[in-house]
């Protein structure tokens, strides 16, 4: 005969205890079943050694990398985030000191990636799904001073409008950090642009200067890329250079300047993942998950905006994405 409760409070305690015991039992059985299932799968993680994901200095890449890192953690892997130079990281990826880079942009990293893949020590882990542009950009108020824009041929006519006391009468173009490559010095020379190319020290410095100029309606011609918050916050346009072709970068004879390469705009297109080749054997399921990773410009643009415009923390934005997109990332983790 079951003990009779003495009062409603006792009844509540008894029910709570039973519920707690039942839940504890359920969870034990669940974990045991998962353990058996995992063993049967021979599933992740194949090694507890940390997978080193490289991080750079722009918000979108930080978000992409941390989403991937969180998914790998959910799969049971150990993950480390390693600050690395965007182009120089290939040395680390080839040696195995670094393992996965989540954003290699066709716009700036294609040549370095192609060179690295030729060594056979790195592996192309596929496109992220995002499509990129990074090019010379101006705020719309500058179009009033230079109505021939966005055609690049208007740039020389407007060099003074884009000049600063330090560069006058030459125009000033604010490029990205030198580590981003991009060949803007070569581009200005090949196209005969009467501009001085100045490189920002960091991503933050680049956009701080753009913001400062925009708020003052001061002249500014600068490197702006997207997915990024800048084109959301600042109304502006990208300069239309002759369209990029591989020959433009490789063959000086191509294009309007038959003696110099880079007489065209930057490439536009994919953002890929790339990894240390040896990682495919060491963490095959993790690498498959990285290959499966895709995200849209729309989703990334919104997350970058949440961080850089709304002031949310990257970790919070990433956790929110993980929480709300379980159906998406769980598919990445399926390992064959």
């Amino acid at each position: 005969m079951a003990p009779q409760p003495h009062d409603p409070g006792d009844l509540l305690i008894t029910e709570n205890q039973e519920e707690l015991e039942m839940k504890a039992y359920c969870r034990s059985v669940f974990l045991a079943t998962l353990l058996v299932t995992g063993t049967a799968l021979g599933a992740a993680p194949e090694s507890k050694d940390p997978i080193k994901l490289t991080i750079h200095d722009w918000t979108g890449q930080y978000i992409t990398t941390h989403i991937m890192g969180r998914v790998l953690e959910e799969m049971g892997y150990n993950v480390e985030y390693q600050q690395a130079d965007y182009i120089a990281q290939f040395a680390g990826l080839e040696s195995g000191d670094l393992h996965v880079a989540m954003e290699m942009w066709e716009t700036t990293g294609k040549q370095a990636m192609d060179e690295s893949l030729k060594t056979g020590k790195t592996v192309d882990l596929g496109e992220t799904g995002m499509k990129a542009i990074e090019e010379w950009w101006y705020p719309l108020y500058m179009k009033e001073k230079c109505p021939g824009l966005p055609d690049w041929k208007a740039l020389n006519e407007c060099a003074e409008a884009f000049s600063t006391p330090e560069t006058h009468p030459k125009g000033r173009y604010l490029g990205g950090p030198v580590t981003w490559a991009g060949f803007d010095d070569e581009r200005a020379e090949a196209l005969g642009l009467n501009y001085e190319v100045v490189h920002a020290g960091t991503d933050a410095a680049l956009f701080a200067e753009i913001q400062s100029a925009y708020e003052r309606k001061a002249p500014i011609l600068a490197w702006v890329y997207t997915p990024h918050w800048a084109p959301i916050k600042f109304k502006g346009e990208w300069v239309e250079f002759p369209r990029y072709t591989e020959e433009c970068y490789d063959d000086p004879k191509w294009g309007m300047n038959t003696e110099k390469a880079y007489d065209c705009g930057k490439p536009r297109g994919w953002i890929k993942k790339v990894g240390w080749k040896g990682g495919e054997e060491k963490w095959p399921c993790a690498y498959q998950a990285v290959r499966n990773f895709t995200i849209s410009n729309q989703a990334m643009g919104e997350m970058v905006g949440e961080v850089d415009l709304d002031g949310k923390k990257v970790d919070d934005v990433v956790e929110n994405w993980i929480k709300n997109n379980e159906d998406t990332w769980k598919k990445w983790t399926q390992c064959s």
Partner: protein
């Protein structure tokens, strides 16, 4: 056989988890993002969202969802005599006005084709309320959505 066993074990594990947590917190639905909204104080308001705002290509067809309050959208009244609080909208690109519109209508969902001549950069799609006789409301009432456009 091995696959069947794995599937069975996975199903059992999930069933246990679901039954244990059935009283737990429901997973939250993804946040519905309103891309842009503008209001005219004291007058009708227009809220606009789009199915695609990033990496938009010239020629893309964008689906706009238009929510209007304080105003009735009525396609049957277009080009009829004016009636207070009734009309339709026109969709403009950036600072265009007058007859230079991309589309007009009175449905809550509509499609707009992005012109091939659009420049690479940031652009506004503006939904502007109009009276039945094709004049814009005065004071104006409009909402907009920002598009990031670039050719690939």
């Amino acid at each position: 056989m091995r696959k069947n066993m794995i599937t069975l074990l996975t199903v059992i594990a999930l069933a246990i988890l679901v039954s244990c947590d059935k009283d737990g917190e429901e997973a939250q639905a993804p946040e519905q993002k309103q891309d842009a909204a503008e209001t005219t104080p004291g007058g009708p308001t227009v809220m606009v969202s789009a199915d695609k705002t990033h990496a938009v290509q010239p020629g893309d067809e964008i689906t706009l969802t238009i929510e209007v309050s304080g105003f009735t959208l009525d396609p049957a009244k277009m080009d009829q005599a004016n009636e207070d609080g009734v009309g339709h909208y026109r969709i403009y690109l950036d600072s265009a006005s007058g007859e230079d519109y991309l589309a007009q209508g009175a449905e809550n969902t509509t499609k707009v084709t992005i012109p091939e001549t659009i420049t690479d950069g940031s652009h506004d799609l503006r939904v502007v309320l109009h009276n039945n006789d094709q004049t814009p409301l005065d004071p104006a009432a409009e909402g907009s959505v920002l598009l990031i456009v670039y050719r690939l």
